[in-house]
């Protein structure tokens, strides 16, 4: 009998052998569901057998895993994400084990079909899609879908299904439904194994980062389709509804339509209430309202791109199935640099592929007749939406320079021979080749990027830091420390970065190491495994809450208890996060991760590291008092970072000399089997 909130089984599809089987979810519940469970499954299927070097994400041995969380489909807000995991072709220089997730209704529908997740290994002989109708799973021919866009693919599959408007209830398996099958698919980009190809569900619920679209393509897997007519058992239905109402009424800022008076009709993922999307204003319905909404949004020196043109362009990225964050042009935001900054008066928020390509063109590195020709891109028409369309097609179908661009920004720069030099200045990528996003001066985001395998994309702490009218800086850090639920200390939030204070209480201190550990454990469990959306969780400070306290750490365990019936505390969840995080660490180590590799790219160690940020005002503890200070000049020091790493590794129970987890750590977390494999490869930490 599965724990309420879990369906009890995970679908395992081997596309090589066409074998369809299942895994027992209960075996993996200790990893929390979602990405945590995926890490444990990956260990069992791909690491433990020892017959693969874990280097190539396009190897048929790679597993691409779509997982639900225990709250999926149970009617809770911010809990509609579907986790995606596996080796990532986007990660550089190693295809690290990585994760992404997407919203919509896929996770809820998969759970109602009776599955906690789908694990796909192997490679089909010819294009297929996986069709899930409750417990009946088939591989369907997708040859006629190959080459279609993500939207065309979904429409075509719906035409094959009984789902219609204006008709009677349709029979799916033994049950009936009026829902349309939930589909996650790739476009031409994924088919051509573009390393920055996304998975798209609906109009634009996309899993972009990681390049899992390319992994689908490498397996000849066009889509996964699911319709569920079953039910999701809830341990305490009355409490679940009460808890939801409690949350809505106690923190009313997060309820209801965001744009009620603007004429925009919101659209939500399953059971959410934030209305991130809209029904009536995006050019193509449901395309999106997040990063990809500004995929083609030029900023000065160009005339700003009209909103409607941006929306049309967003549709282009969604249809081809491109990771918009990675391939965008410059985003809507640029930030001025200091006068001595080389060849660049302003830097865009993301030095992404579209922008970097133009920069290389302007510098004469690429162009017609050059060693790297820009065919078929009309570079002189960079400011027109037609350019964006050709650009997307060239990448997705690997035409001309598109074949290089399809490898992603970091590999494109490498091919041009621009590395590591550009890392010092205009190419702001994480150690593993992802757009920097907003990591600095919020160093906890930067540290997270370094320790994980991608831009961790955790806005929660970033967006709450900044001067508050209502409370003093000291009151603020005291509130958020009290809401961490795990012995939080106000000094966790000290961003002192100069002199000895940086080592004593600031960005190189044990306090910051403890905060980063808290954040990684929180994110690994509550966000990537339970699958709370980044836009809602964590919530340490809230203007609308009692005493301005956020709903962390109360809402998470209350929601989980109502659904699962397990009497887990917030701290119990953090321990699950620590376990899953260590499992990920063990996978990284098996792939070759070592302390020596975990170094930031050059710009982080130089003035200008914090150019591109909104939230520059950070709390600073000035030996005796707290104050808000502008940290635009903050950059990291190699000595400080190395000392911080030693402190952090020790806190996690990893060997500070290598970064490898120790036997004691793994066994205390119930992972004796992991320790045994690491030892057999001589990669077990000392101590």
């Amino acid at each position: 009998m599965a724990t309420p909130g879990f369906a009890g089984k995970i679908l395992l599809v081997n596309l090589t052998t066409k074998q369809i089987s299942s895994l027992d979810s209960a075996k993996y519940e200790a990893y929390g569901g979602g990405h945590g469970t995926a890490a444990a499954v990956f260990w069992d299927l791909c690491v433990a057998p020892g017959d693969w070097d874990l280097q190539d994400a396009f190897d048929p041995k790679n597993a691409v895993m779509l997982m639900t969380g225990p709250l999926s489909g149970t009617g809770l807000p911010f809990a509609a994400r579907t986790s995606v995991s596996g080796l990532s072709p986007q990660c550089w220089p190693v295809n690290w084990f990585c994760h992404s997730n997407f919203g919509g209704c896929f996770a809820g529908m998969l759970k109602m079909a009776g599955w906690d997740g789908v694990v796909v290994i192997g490679k089909a002989e010819s294009p297929v899609y996986i069709n899930i109708v409750d417990d009946k799973v088939t591989l369907e021919d997708a040859k006629s879908l190959w080459g279609l866009t993500t939207w065309e693919t979904q429409e075509r599959i719906w035409q094959r299904s009984p789902a219609r408007y204006g008709t009677e209830w349709q029979k799916f398996g033994d049950g009936y439904s009026l829902q349309w099958p939930a589909i996650v698919t790739i476009g031409p980009a994924g088919e051509n194994m573009v390393r920055v190809a996304s998975l798209v569900h609906g109009g634009g619920s996309g899993a972009g980062q990681g390049g899992f679209g390319g992994v689908f393509g490498s397996k000849n897997l066009k889509a996964i389709v699911v319709i569920g007519t079953g039910s999701i058992k809830v341990a305490d239905p009355k409490e679940l509804r009460i808890a939801r109402e409690w949350w809505h009424t106690t923190w009313p800022r997060f309820t209801g339509l965001m744009r009620a008076e603007t004429g925009v009709v919101g659209a939500n993922c399953m059971a959410c209430s934030r209305s991130c999307r809209n029904r009536n204003q995006i050019y193509g319905a449901d395309s999106d309202n997040c990063a990809e909404a500004t995929w083609y949004a030029l900023a000065p020196p160009y005339q700003r791109t009209p909103t409607e043109v941006q929306w049309k362009s967003t549709d282009v990225a969604q249809k081809y199935g491109l990771n918009a964050m990675e391939t965008c042009f410059m985003g809507p935001m640029s930030f001025k640099v200091t006068p001595d900054f080389p060849v660049q008066p302003e830097l865009p928020a993301y030095t992404a592929l579209g922008w970097y390509l133009k920069k290389m063109y302007d510098l004469g590195v690429v162009g017609p007749g050059k060693k790297v020709d820009t065919y078929p891109l009309p570079m002189d028409h960079y400011d027109r939406v037609e350019f964006a369309e050709v650009y997307a097609m060239a990448i997705s179908k690997r035409i001309g320079i598109g074949n290089l661009l399809a490898e992603g920004t970091v590999r494109f720069a490498e091919k041009l021979g621009r590395l590591p030099g550009d890392f010092d200045t205009i190419l702001r990528l994480t150690a593993w080749g992802y757009q920097d996003h907003w990591s600095m001066p919020g160093v906890e985001w930067a540290y997270g990027n370094l320790l994980d395998s991608r831009d961790i994309n955790n806005h929660d702490v970033y967006r709450l830091l900044g001067p508050k009218k209502e409370v003093t800086c000291e009151e603020f850090v005291n509130i958020i420390a009290s809401r961490t639920g795990a012995g939080g200390n106000p000094l966790w939030f000290d961003y002192s970065w100069k002199d000895e204070q940086a080592y004593k209480t600031g960005i190189y201190s044990e306090h910051k190491a403890r905060f980063v550990a808290w954040r990684q454990h929180y994110a690994t469990y509550y966000k990537e495994s339970v699958l709370f959306c980044d836009w809602g969780f964590s919530n340490l400070y809230n203007d609308a809450g009692p005493g301005r306290k956020g709903y962390t750490p109360e809402a998470e365990p209350r929601f989980l208890k109502a659904v699962t019936g397990r009497n887990h505390s917030f701290a119990d969840g953090m321990e699950i996060g620590r376990r899953a995080w260590s499992m990920k660490r063990a996978i990284f180590v098996m792939q070759g991760r070592h302390r020596d590799q975990e170094k930031f790219n050059g710009y982080i160690y130089r003035p200008g590291a914090s150019f591109c940020a909104y939230a520059n005002e950070k709390p600073i503890f000035n030996r005796s008092k707290w104050e808000w200070m502008n940290c635009r000049d903050l950059y990291l020091d190699d000595k400080g970072v190395e000392q911080w790493k030693t402190t952090y590794y020790k806190l996690e129970g990893w060997d500070p000399a290598t970064g490898y987890p120790t036997r004691k750590t793994l066994e205390n977390l119930g992972m004796k089997h992991v320790a045994a494999v690491l030892q057999s490869k001589n990669r077990l930490g000392s101590g």
Binding site: Y165, Y176, W180, I232, R241, R244
Partner: protein
């Protein structure tokens, strides 16, 4: 089986206007509920029926709905103790790649003046609950699973729900019989879908809605949306490359 029904549905081809069209088109600021007066269609329906009218009706605003399915999950939760899109008595179907407002269809039980489900149930399981303001209900204990109520429902899709696991039918009772609801349900109480909807796209009205097509049920609950801004021309060439 549900898909085998031959009953005709009310025709929609001759529809010339809707109440929403009237409200928006006239520029009126009247709330939808304010227009719930008896029209000839509702009066005729009421007079024709030999059954007592329900005192409450669930209505919705398909243009305000965000497609979150909260109503459906709440419905199955409070009735069945589990969430399910197939067991929900209110049905929201979203064709996510279709343009607004044609991307959403919502189906609720209309608490018909002349309830064919009640009229045709051979087991007496489908009945009018006088203790709950005459809401039309199905007694699960008496239901024999013959699906007559599904086939009798004059609307497509039928508003009676088939539970293929329990082999029984159910329908919207305005939460009168909700063993897993923490609130008092029913026409005089709360409805899980209404209290859960995050945007107020559902409400209970006490007057019999206009029975023509969906005119009386798909009403304008929200203020009329502002017009969408016109498309702007593409960006001009840059002043400097």
């Amino acid at each position: 089986m549900p898909g085998d029904k031959k009953t005709e549905i009310p025709k929609t081809k001759n529809r010339k206007y809707s109440r929403r069209d009237f409200v928006v088109g006239s520029g009126s600021v009247l709330a939808g509920g304010a227009l719930a007066a008896y029209t000839p269609a509702t009066a005729a329906a009421a007079e024709k029926s030999s059954y007592p009218l329900s005192s409450a009706y669930l209505v919705y605003d398909s243009r305000r709905c965000t497609g979150c399915l909260n109503c459906m999950l709440a419905c199955s939760l409070v009735h069945d103790g589990a969430t399910s899109t197939s067991l929900s008595r209110i049905q929201v179907s979203r064709a996510i790649l279709t343009k607004y407002p044609h991307d959403m269809q919502i189906h609720v039980c209309r608490q018909c003046p002349e309830p064919m489900c009640v009229k045709n149930c051979p087991a007496g399981a489908c009945y009018i609950n006088a203790a709950n303001a005459n809401v039309r209900m199905i007694d699960a204990q008496k239901c024999i699973g013959c699906q007559t109520c599904l086939q009798s429902c004059p609307f497509i899709p039928h508003r009676t729900i088939w539970d293929h696991i329990a082999n029984k039918a159910s329908k919207c009772d305005l939460c009168a019989d909700t063993p897993h609801f923490d609130k008092k349900g029913g026409p005089a109480g709360a409805q899980a879908c209404v209290v859960t909807c995050p945007v107020g796209a559902l409400k209970l009205v006490t007057e019999l809605p206009d029975q023509r097509d969906n005119i009386g049920y798909d009403i304008n609950i929200a203020p009329p949306a502002k017009a969408k801004p016109k498309a702007q021309p593409p960006a001009a060439a840059p002043a400097k490359g």
